[in-house]
């Protein structure tokens, strides 16, 4: 447990000091402030403005940042894992669990510290056409998609030796999955469909069971990715 906490703390500190994390936060916060001002001056609808912010800023920038941060979780430390960490009194499970909690936790913390003030300001300054339950569900669904992205990134960082191919694989998976799911008649599962539906979701116009279905799918996919990654890492030669 001691080793787990030490690695968790070490990794979290690394993430907070990373220039990618800082740029990510900056690129989310600045447009959010801009859209709050626009919404107030133009008397825009809160649901539409928030959904537009997600489509143009939050989703693409976060996808890119999370893919990099998660995909470098283990492969980014390849040279020091065995020499500095796993040759000491650390189990593989402790190490990978600390990495998973740190990377997913960090993603969700950044997401929360941007989304909560942004939502509050939109409620206050835009024309509020949202329902509290719809907004909560909408943000929750987006959080589950980001969690899946982070989980997939961590798994790729275990499976691949280099960071760049892992990042590209994660991004390509997300981009191509839309087309593949549409072809399979499962377009409701694609991230594009979820984001397109956000204005209605924020207004509480979509069925709750549909959102729960999306939540369940992405949570299950995250769990499968993490279990697979942990299994591979535990059996890997370092």
């Amino acid at each position: 447990m001691q080793a787990f906490l030490a690695i968790l703390q070490y990794d979290f500190l690394q993430l907070t000091r990373s220039w990618i994390s800082r740029t990510w936060v900056l690129l989310l916060v600045a447009p959010a402030i801009f859209w709050v001002i626009v919404a107030e001056n133009g008397s825009e609808l809160a649901s539409e403005t928030m959904a537009f912010y997600v489509t143009t800023t939050l989703a693409p920038i976060s996808a890119f940042a999370v893919a990099i941060l998660a995909s470098s979780a283990i492969s980014g430390e390849a040279s020091i894992i065995s020499d500095s960490i796993l040759s000491r009194s650390v189990t593989r499970t402790e190490y990978v669990a600390a990495k998973i909690i740190s990377r997913i936790g960090f993603t969700l913390i950044v997401y929360t510290i941007v989304v909560i003030p942004f939502t509050y300001l939109m409620f206050r300054f835009a024309v509020d056409d949202t329902s509290f339950g719809g907004v909560a569900l909408g943000w929750l669904v987006l959080a589950s998609i980001l969690t899946f992205l982070a989980a997939l990134g961590i798994t790729m960082s275990i499976a691949m030796a280099n960071v760049l191919p892992a990042v590209l694989t994660v991004l390509l998976t997300i981009i191509l999955s839309g087309a593949v799911l549409q072809f399979l008649g499962l377009s409701w599962m694609s991230t594009t469909a979820v984001i397109d539906q956000l204005p209605q979701t924020f207004r509480g116009e979509t069925a709750v069971w549909e959102q729960i279905r999306v939540l369940t799918v992405f949570s299950s996919l995250s769990l499968i990715a993490l279990i697979t990654g942990t299994f591979v890492f535990r059996n890997k030669d370092l």
Binding site: S87, R234, D237
Partner: protein, 356 residues
């Protein structure tokens, strides 16, 4: 008690490369064991399996009488490891890194601080304690690696090429440090290809070649084997006359010599005591009228013995393969008996790894 014990340890990478070939290694408690072998012999692979960083393809490995696996952090808690050309988080300083190692080991913060200060002093990194690891030289990295390996005051210390990349002063300091660390119930295993280092600190030595342990025994025995039959002399004067008569020192064909300027390294292949051969060399010096500047039994003795073992191993490769095939046949023939009686092939007088 054996601190480390491997049995038929085999590692094959992706069915392509045999890194370890039925390695049987035993290291006793309190020993300073030198694992010597050329590059690619399997030293680092052995260490990585001993630490649970890699899994063996076949065979078993036990450390402190417990089977090692990647999940055995409790065993690794008692082991300190220095890898070859170690890598550390580059943004950290020696202090923050050693603090991190201390927290992984579950050390109390104050206790860790005391320990790291003591170790940084011992490895001569106190002046660089606040510098980022990013700018460290190879030697500094190695010294930091030694400090990290010693953070938990381990009972078993595994050092992979501890003097690699060090200048002569750093090398001497490291050797002295290893000497200081030996004893006190601490077992040390050092992998190196610098034989003089092994000679200076090790109590036992093992020679590994192509993934097999071709020799293992006390250092004194290795020295005895090395000295056997080799005399080196440095002469001045009519060395040509001396060289012409070298073959008269023993029966024809039982003498091999090498001349390096005024130095002669004479190897006697006969079975008489070394003192007798030394006497004959001195008589020849006297007869030929040359001036003797220096005489010793063996030159670069450990190197000679090491190379001799490797050469023997190579030339016996075919014999070994034949013996192994015979063993397999016999084992198959006797399998029902062995199974019934619970006798291993080696117990039945059949060695799977014929002695070299």
């Amino acid at each position: 008690m054996y601190v480390v014990e491997t049995s038929d340890l085999t590692k094959i990478y992706e069915n392509r490369y045999i890194a370890l070939n039925a390695l049987n290694l035993r290291v006793e408690k309190g020993a300073v064991f030198g694992l010597v072998g050329p590059n690619g012999a399997g030293k680092s692979t052995t260490f990585r399996i001993l630490l649970g960083l890699q899994r063996p393809t076949a065979g078993s490995v036990s450390v402190f009488d417990d089977a090692m696996s990647p999940e055995r952090a409790d065993i690794r808690r008692r082991v300190g490891y220095l890898p070859t050309n170690p890598s550390f988080p580059r943004h950290m300083t020696p202090i923050t890194y050693l603090e991190f190692v201390g927290s992984i080991l579950g050390m109390d913060q104050k206790q860790a601080k005391i320990q790291l200060a003591r170790l940084l002093q011992a490895v001569d990194l106190a002046s660089a304690a606040a510098q980022r690891i990013h700018g460290f030289s190879t030697g500094m990295m190695t010294r930091l690696g030694i400090a990290a390996a010693l953070m938990g005051d381990p009972e078993l210390l595994i050092l992979d090429e501890p003097t690699s990349g060090l200048d002569p002063a750093g090398r001497k300091q490291t050797i002295e440090l290893i000497r200081e660390l030996s004893g006190r119930d601490r077992t040390i295993i050092i992998a190196t290809h610098i034989l003089s280092d092994v000679e200076r600190v090790c109590t036992d030595v093992g020679i590994i070649s192509q993934g097999r342990l071709i020799y293992a025994g006390p250092m004194a025995e290795m020295r005895r084997l090395a000295r056997q039959g080799t005399i080196s002399v440095e002469l001045e004067g009519n060395t040509g006359a001396f060289e012409q008569q070298i073959h008269s020192l023993d029966v024809i064909g039982s003498i091999r010599y090498e001349r390096l300027g005024s130095e002669f390294h004479i190897t006697f292949l006969g079975t008489e005591p070394l003192a007798e051969y030394a006497q004959r060399v001195l008589s020849l010096v006297d007869r030929t009228g040359v001036e003797l500047l220096y005489i010793t039994s063996g030159a670069d003795e450990i190197e000679e013995a090491f190379l001799q073992r490797l050469e023997d191993d190579r030339t016996r490769g075919f014999l070994r393969a034949a013996a192994w095939a015979a063993t397999q046949n016999l084992s198959n023939d006797f399998d029902p008996v062995n199974k019934r009686m619970g006798v291993k092939s080696s117990d039945a007088g059949i060695s799977r790894n014929p002695p070299v």
